[in-house]
Amino acid sequence: MKEVLKTFVLEPALGFKETNALYQKELPVWIEAAQALGLQPV
């Protein structure tokens, strides 16, 4: 696992609270950027 993380230049996994805090923080930003593309859902 360590080697895979190192190969892909990734950080270690986050715990439950940090995970969901990251998700809640990034979710609206991703959605806004995606909607700004003006793509029609498929």
Partner: protein, 287 residues
Amino acid sequence: MSAIINRRHFIAAGSAAAAMPFVARDASAQAAWPSRQIRMICSYPAGGQTDLLRAPSANTFPNRSDRLSSSKTSAGASGAIGTAEVARAEPDGHTILCSISTTYVMNRVMLKTPGYDMDKDLTLVSVIPGAGLPLVASPKSGVKTLEDFVAFARKNDKVNFGTYSVGSAPHMTINELNKQYGLKIEPIHYRGEAPMWTGLAEGSIDFAMGSYTASQSVLQSDRGVPFAVHSKKVDAIPNVKTLPEQGATSKFFTVSGFTGWAVPKATPQPIVDRLSQLASRPTAIRK
């Protein structure tokens, strides 16, 4: 793929959770967990980054559990097929999804009927934050910074900037740069990173953006010059500044995305907590 687990590892790890308060129903489910084979489903094609994390992480969970576990790939529809399968699974901690931001965040915007509702059907257990994505220019463009890139784009009617798919982070990056700097860059969408980097190396496109790992093919052969990184610095190219450091202001340049694990929503919290503890300490192999 399956692995035989050391029961002592699980009991040692499980004792740390013994002090956690449980609801009576949850206590019963948690005490019995794992009671059968744990399945890990990777909802992206085999061989990609997600699948390369699936295999070692399936070994990570079993190293702390005394049940055989297996993992498989269930690719298709931007990860929606495998995700829907996990969303419908019994919420008992025996089925785990491994997937990426596209599945957890983007599909609700990109797909009419993804087959699952992320917030109602799944619980995120643990994620690995994404790495910074380099923006790379062909050497002949002369671009070495974001300022150079903006000047290039203003000077040239057509800017060939490759992405690895429609709706990807590079696609959104181009859109955000267009908005801030008044540019009109039309992205060229490839199907995957490999053909995109090949396009840059061959001179079919002047710019591309993707993972540092996959960009090695052009960076190491001097057929690409990284001039910015999307959100986070990449240690291997420390002199390349992030887009925000170079004056780009979109909030999108502060997010990194992630790869991670999720379980059905009704999975008892004590089991979610155990899985999260196991996932977030992948190198702490207990003796």
